[in-house]
Every structure is written in C-alpha cells, then in structure tokens.
C-alpha cells in the first residue's frame, strides 16, 4: 500500500479551527488549533470529556469535524474513515486493543495488508516482516505466538507494529500505559523514542502527568473542548499541568494522617478458588484491620477481580475461610455479605456497578430497597426513594439536575460517585474499592481519594484494588501484591516504597517468603489480648 504524498514541510498533523458537535448537541471540541511538527512526541492531556479522544478520533478518521479542517502531511484532508487516515500514514493504538485473539502476532500485524500473491497469504513472509519490524523498532514480540496467549504489553506492541507495517508516519497512542507495569512502560517509552528519532510523529494521550513529563517533547492541554495551551515539557511541572487541566490550582497529593489500625475486620485464611474461565487463587492469607487502607497491586488479570468478587459474595471460594468481624461468610449469599458489612465498588461500573437505564434514585437503593425508611410493610415509597437520592446527591456532590435522570446520561466520574455514594452510605465495615478512579476526571479522582481516607478514619477497613500504582502508593497504609493468584509480597509500611520496587514483585522477579507474608496473622476466633 502506498501512502499518498505528503507536503515537503509543515506539520505532520494539524487541526485548524476544528469544532466537533455531536448529534445530541454536545460540543466536544471547540475551535481547536493544533500543529504537530514531524519527529515530535506530543502529549495531549486533559480531564475526561476535555475532548482529547474526540480530537484524536478526528485525526484517525473515526469522527468528522463539524467545522474547520484536519491537515495531514501539510495538506487539508477529508478523512472519511480510518482507511483514509491509514492511507495517509496515520496509525492509532486504542486503549482497548483491537486484535484478533485467535491469530498469531504476525497474522495480526499483516492483517489487511498481507504479503503474498493471488489471494494467498504467505505466512513465512508475514513472520519475517513482523520480526524485521520488531527488530528495527525495538518492540519485542514473538511473531508466532497467538495473541490470546501473550501479555497485554506484547499485544500493545503488536498493535504498534501493525501501524508500522502500514507505514504509519504519525502514531496516536491512546492511554498506552494504563495496562502496563512500570518496566513495560519503560520499554515502551524507549521504543517510542527510537521511533521518534527515526522521524515518527507521536501523539501520546494520557492522564498520568508523570509519564507525560518523562516521554513527551511538548504538552498540549485541553479543557472543556478547547485547547488551553501548549508548553515545552521541560518548562512544565505536574502541578502546573494539573492546574491547566482543571483551570484552577489543584494537586493530587492526598492529605493522609498515619493510619490507626484497630482489630482486624477482614481475615482471609488459605483462600483458594478454582474455575474454568477465571484466574485461580491459591492459599491467600491476609488481614485488613479497621482503620487502615490495604492496597492490592498486580498486573491486571492476576486474580484481583476474583478476590474482590469472592469477598463481595459474587463468587464462592473453593477453599479457605473469610471472616468479617468474626462472621464466617461461608454459605452467605450476596445480600448476606452486605448484611455482614461489606461494601463493594466494582471494577467495571458499566457491567454491574449500575443499571444504566434506571434512574439515579433507583441505582442508589439496590441494597436497601426492601427495608425502612424506603419500604414499610411491603410497600416501597417513591417519595422516600427520591428523598434518599436527593440527600446522597447533595452529600456526594453528584452533578445532576434531578434524581430521575438515568445513570447512562452521567459522565464517568459522576457515575462513579453514584456508586461510591451508595456503597459508603451503607456504612460498610469493609469497603472493597476496585479500580475506583478508572476513567474519572481529576476532580472526581480527588473526591474519591478523600472519601476513602475519610471512610478509613471513620473506622472502616478498606481494601483498595487498583492497576494504578501511583494511586496505590498514595493511599495505601499497607500493600499486598498478587501474581498468578498468589500473594507474592506484603509491605507493612509503604513510606519510601517506589513504583519500580513494587513492579519487580508484580512481574515475579522478586517475592517475599511465606513467613514474611503470614507474619502476625492470628487464627480467627483466637482473639488477641
């Protein structure tokens, strides 16, 4: 496939007075002027809904501007779809990787532009091409491995190679590090720099300001659809970028007094889980005390989801015991777990955290719709449900004109507030918070952090599961690391702990021995003096 000609000079990609108004009347991008010269790594940052994804989609032909024009290779272009963007040399790696799981890495790389003749694919040439591209770019992959069997990091590298194979000269990376360990992130950055030095233009979308500072040459900040400004990365600090993003001075540092842990609320002993379609868990032992936040780190898919769902009663363990304040949760259903004092913010709020087409008011009462004050003598009082919603909307600053608004109409952060409001207002003894800030804006993120710390200080035990190490280190009083369904590390003091160090345990390079992992754990029932 030949790329269409590029102009000799001028920006690799540019937007001129680009505006995008969606069919529902939302103006996602407003009169944005942006120019990215060839061979630059440009970070585009902004809160959720700031319009950065929409802008990128316009560069990749997934959306068309309502006004203004998109320039690729120095000339105005009409991108009717990704195909025309690819033809012009624009490649995009999405946050949700789009590969064929049952194909090999090489097959995915050449997909659509297969080597071979007369409609036959030459598998050998595909593998060779992939290996050559990998060699040149420093993106290490195994061309013959099937995509469903390789790590998320390799899948991502496959996506990038796929773009390179299509002769991309502009590479758009949409939150590429969200799924990576710190080590994988470093490797990715090294490869991206190498590509840049070879003349590649890279657009790097992220909300992790630390990474933005590390990788980019310049940073463009978007807020509420408009471009706030572009600064040289060397001149920017995380704090200055954050305040540009939100329009006021704001920091993500969490004010956190040292925890004053009391008696263990949650005791997990020899917990095991076997299932055909999920990650198994093997012999987990740990406590979470009232008044402390215990973080669970790990690369996604190492048993965090299973652990959370077992503790919430959504899955049944196949071995071991779980006690909440002396209550054995074996045999209890979900409602029973909730009665025992468990609150759960699920990792995927769209899947089971909310009923999107139901109202905010209905979403806030799912665990308490059958008892006073909402229901008396078998009658559910809509007035009481509404009052309850009004109160929580007020307390948790949920932005909505009315409790009858369907949850689907809310932005990510606001939707998460609905869920957190419900779970915290139940007054849980143990709160399981899974990916609590995923896809929420900085304001909501800060809000969640404050509420988690407040819940801790009010005496709740908090189990914080997150893929974001920065978040875990900022919030956790203690930290556990899961790898392949096993506990491999336990840090009883998180001060001075670095992401890199935790990353070594996440990857399985290092591990704590069993005595360290199970130190000072009492058997439930034998109360300490």
């Amino acid at each position: 496939m030949m790329n269409e000609p590029w102009g000799k000079d001028g920006p690799a990609v540019a937007a001129r007075q680009v505006t995008k108004t969606y069919a529902n009347g939302v103006r996602a991008v407003r009169a944005v002027d942006l120019e990215i010269p060839p061979g630059e790594i440009r970070a585009v940052v902004g809160e959720n809904g700031a319009g950065k994804s929409t802008l990128m989609k316009m560069f990749y032909g997934l959306e068309q501007p309502s006004a203004g024009e998109i320039l690729v290779g120095g000339r105005p272009r009409v991108l009717r779809g990704p195909a025309s963007a690819i033809a012009l040399g624009v490649g995009m790696v999405h946050q949700n990787l789009m590969l064929v799981p049952s194909f090999t890495v090489a097959q995915n790389v050449v997909l659509g532009v297969e080597p071979g003749r007369r409609g036959l694919v030459d598998p050998k040439a595909a593998v060779e091409t992939t290996a050559r591209l990998a060699e040149e770019s420093g993106l290490v992959v195994d061309p013959r491995a099937r995509v469903e069997e390789v790590s998320v990091g390799m899948r991502q590298r496959t996506e990038i190679l796929k773009a390179l194979h299509r002769r991309a000269r502009v590479l758009i990376l949409d939150e590429p590090t969200a799924v990576l360990t710190p080590q994988e992130t470093e490797d990715l950055f090294a490869a991206v720099r190498r590509l840049r030095d070879g003349g590649m233009t890279v657009l790097f979308i992220s909300h992790k300001l630390r990474e933005v500072r590390e990788i980019s040459d310049k940073v463009s900040v978007m807020r509420a659809g408009s471009l706030v400004g572009t600064v040289a990365t060397a001149d920017a600090t995380e704090r200055s970028l954050a305040s540009m993003m939100v329009g006021r001075d704001m920091s993500l540092d969490v004010d956190r007094t040292p925890a004053r842990p009391a008696e263990p609320t949650l005791r997990v002993r020899s917990l095991g889980y076997e299932a055909a379609t999920a990650q198994s868990l093997h012999g987990l032992d740990f406590d979470v005390a009232a008044g402390e936040i215990v973080g669970v780190a790990g690369i996604e898919g190492n048993g965090q989801s299973e652990l959370a769902e077992i503790l919430a009663g959504l899955r049944r363990p196949t071995a071991g015991t779980v006690h909440i304040d002396g209550t054995d949760t074996a045999g209890l259903d979900v409602a029973g777990h909730r009665r025992a004092g468990i609150g759960y913010v699920p990792e995927d709020r769209l899947h089971n955290g909310a009923a999107l087409d139901a109202s905010i008011a209905d979403n806030l009462v799912v665990d308490r719709h059958d008892r006073p004050p909402l229901a008396r003598r078998g009658v559910l009082h809509p007035g009481a449900v509404r009052e309850h919603a009004d109160r929580l909307i007020d307390q948790y600053a949920i932005r909505t004109p009315d409790p009858s608004v369907p949850v689907r109409a809310l932005s990510g952060g606001n939707m998460q507030k609905v869920i957190v409001a419900r779970e915290l207002s139940a007054g849980p003894r143990l709160l399981i918070a899974s990916q609590v800030t995923r896809g929420v804006d900085i304001g909501a993120m800060r809000f969640m952090y404050e509420r988690l710390v407040a819940a801790r200080d009010a005496g709740a035990a908090v189990l914080l599961i997150s893929a974001d190490l920065t978040e875990l280190l900022a919030l956790s009083d203690r930290l556990l690391v899961l790898k392949d369904g096993r506990l491999v590390a336990r840090f009883d003091d998180t001060t001075g702990l670095t992401e890199k160090r935790v990353g070594l345990y996440m990857l399985g390079v290092e591990r704590h021995d069993r005595d360290h992992l199970t130190a000072h754990l009492e058997t439930p029932g034998e109360e300490a003096p």
Binding site: T21, Y22, A23, N24, G25, V26, R27, A28, N48, G49, G51, K52, S53, T54, Q95, D174, I205, H207, A224, G225, A312, L314, D333, V334, A335, H337, R338, Y344, P346, H351, N352, G353, A354, A355, L356, D357, A358, D362, N363, V365, V366, D367, H369, D370, A375, G378, V379, L380, H381, P382, R399, T400, P401, D402, V405, A409, L410, S411, G412, G439
Partner: protein, 373 residues
C-alpha cells in the same frame, strides 16, 4: 479515556431538565399519533392500489365499532381478554424475560375455570371468585414451569414457553374433544358453566345491549392498576425492574435474580389465567376449541406497543382491539378484507418498535437549541 462525550444533561438545572422531559414526552406522544396516521395513510394507498374505495372502508373501520351498542360491547369484550394477555407478558418483559407462554397459560386458566364452574356447586359470588382464583393459579403454575427452567437450569425461556404452549394446547383439545365434551352434543364444546359462575354482563348494568361484554372489564382495569402498583410501589416490582435493567447489577446489589425471574413468570401466568377465566365465565360460558384465537400472541404486540407499562397496556389494548373490531365490520360492509387491518397493525408495530425515530427527532430539537444559544 471513556469514549462517551461529556453529556449535556449534567449541566442542566432542574427547570431546564423538566422542560426537556416535557418536550420529550410531547415528542413521544405526537410520534405515536403520527405513527397511527402514517399506518392509516399506507393502508389508504394499498386500498387505492388494489382498486377499492378507501374512504368507505375507513368509514366502516373507524366508526363501525361505535355504531351500535352491541358492537361497543364486542370491542370491550375483546379488549378485556387482549389487555389481560398483554399485561401477562408485560411483567416478564419488565424482567427482560421473553415469555411467549401466554397461550399455555390462558388455556390452562380456561380449563381450571371451566372445571370448577361446571362441576363444583358453590354459593353465589363465591361461585364467580373461586373459578377465577383457580384459573389464576393454573396460569401461575404454567408460568412457574418455564420460569424455573430459565432461572434455575438456564433453559432458554423462548423455547421453554413455546414448547409448553404446544403441549398445553394439545391437552386442551383432547379434553374438549373427549372427557369434557358435552355428552350427547354434536358440536365440540363442553357443558355450560353454572349460571352462578357467570361474570355479570354489562348489559344488565347499563340497560343497553352490550353483547357479551361483562364485569371482566372491571377486573381487567383493576389488574392493570394492581400491576402498575406492583411495579412502581413494591420491593418485588423494584427487583423486577432492576433485573430487567441489568441482571448483573441486580445480583451485585444482593437481589436473588433467579427468584425474581420466577416471580415475574408466575405473576404473568396468573394474569393470563384470568384472561382464560374471562373467556369461559364471561364470553363463551363454556369451553370451545381454540377459544383464545390469536389473542395470546397479539397480547405480546400490545405489551410492546405500551413499552410494558401496565397502564399504557390498557390504552394499547383498547386501541388494538378497536382496530380488530373495525376490521371485522369493514369486511362485512365493504369488499375490503381484514388483511388491510393486518397491514395497518404491522406498520404500526414496525414504526413503534423502531424507537430510533423519536430519538432522532429529540436529538434534532436538542441540536437546534444548542445552535440558538
């Protein structure tokens, strides 16, 4: 990054939001009327194309059912059965269970009502209530079978209900042709029910001939209100709604989803059973072969038209029956067959189930407003 663009609704104030809601409601309502109008226009064109006189035909169809009081009675009698059957599927539909079992439930209800009211001598009033209760119980039982199969065993509810329909209809035919057939009669039907068990005809109350319309109409209206209260004002109704909105969310919130699914089937079955009782005790006074006709399946259409809101089901049922009654009259009085009514009904169903149309209109209005600002 989530892919959803920032939504406008969050930034609205309450007054703005209510205005939007009222506007959306107005759009919905006018779209419903426009849909009916469009269907009639298409029917008009079809008749014109087939060389009929559409004006005369429409006159018969649209004014016919109100022409004489007994025709009104026929419309109301038909609407009662149809609406009950619509209600019976609306409840499982609310729990996102595609129950097609109204047919087995209505026949089971008819059998139960007939058996009790033919063979069991009871004092007045009780003689009306007990067969109806028996019918509701039989219908509920017919709902519980596929409900349990779906909820506990993971059987597909569509297959389960359809297969059960096949079985129950054969059993019904056998009983009406055999053990329950009136001895010594040439025609195939059961004995008449005892007079005490009959639902009082509306003619007795209003003093004008209203055909076979009976106080079953009142039962139907009460049932609709009761179901609406169930859905909006009880914990079980909430559980049904949440199970329908997102079963994973319901389970996460501590709702026992399988039990809710069973209940939705049982309640729907009981209502369909009542429709059977209405046919036996109010309309025919005995068991006849195929007494529910195609009503069980048209009930599904009615429920869909009403978006499973029990109160709207009443409106939709009355409207749909009106078209049915009008079609019959049109066929009698003109050369146009009832097929044209089927065309009109089909167009309405297609347009209503295509929910994209009103949404498109709402979005267009929203965009225009943004442009003005």
């Amino acid at each position: 990054m989530t892919t959803t663009p920032m939504t406008a609704i969050e930034t609205e104030d309450r007054r703005q939001y209510r205005t939007t809601r009222r506007r959306d409601f107005a759009v919905d309502l006018s779209m419903a009327l426009a849909t009916i109008l469009a269907a009639l226009v298409i029917g008009f064109l079809v008749m014109l194309a087939t060389g009929n006189d559409p004006i005369r035909a429409y006159e018969a169809m649209l004014t016919g059912p109100l022409d004489r009081s007994f025709r009104v009675g026929r419309w109301l009698e038909d609407a009662t059965t149809l609406t009950l059957l619509g209600l019976s599927v609306a409840i499982p539909f609310r729990a996102r269970q595609i129950s097609l079992g109204a047919e087995s439930q209505v026949y089971a209800g008819a059998l139960a009502a007939a058996t009790v009211s033919i063979f069991l001598p009871l004092p007045p009033v009780v003689a009306v209530v007990v067969p109806m209760a028996a019918a509701a119980a039989a219908g509920a039982g017919m709902g519980l079978v596929p409900g349990t199969m779906k909820a506990r065993l993971g059987a597909n509810e569509i297959v389960a209900t359809l297969m059960l329909n096949a079985i129950v209809v054969r059993v019904y035919d056998y009983l009406v042709n055999g053990p329950l057939k009136e001895p010594g009669s040439n025609a195939v039907h059961s004995e008449n029910i005892r007079p005490d068990s009959a639902l009082t005809p509306l003619s007795d109350w209003f003093g004008i001939p209203l055909g076979r319309a009976n106080i079953g109409l009142g039962v139907m209206l009460l049932t609709a209100v009761a179901l609406w209260l169930l859905i909006t004002r009880t914990p079980l109704g909430y559980r049904i709604r949440m199970t329908g909105a997102n079963p994973d969310f319901a389970a996460y919130g501590g709702i026992r989803v399988p039990r809710v699914i069973e209940w939705s089937f049982v309640i729907g079955g009981a209502v369909a059973g009542l429709a059977g009782a209405h046919l036996v005790q109010g309309v025919y006074g005995r068991l006849e072969p195929g007494l529910a006709g195609s009503l069980a399946f048209e009930g599904i259409v009615v429920a869909l038209l009403a978006r499973n809101n029990p109160l709207v089901v009443v409106v939709a049922g009355l409207f749909y029956s009106y078209l049915r009654a009008g079609g019959d009259i049109m066929e009698q009085q003109t050369d146009v067959g009832t097929e044209i009514v089927v065309v009109i009904q089909a167009v309405i169903v297609l347009l209503v189930t295509a929910q994209a149309l009103p949404n498109l209109l709402k979005r267009r209005i929203a965009r225009r407003q943004v442009g003005v600002r």
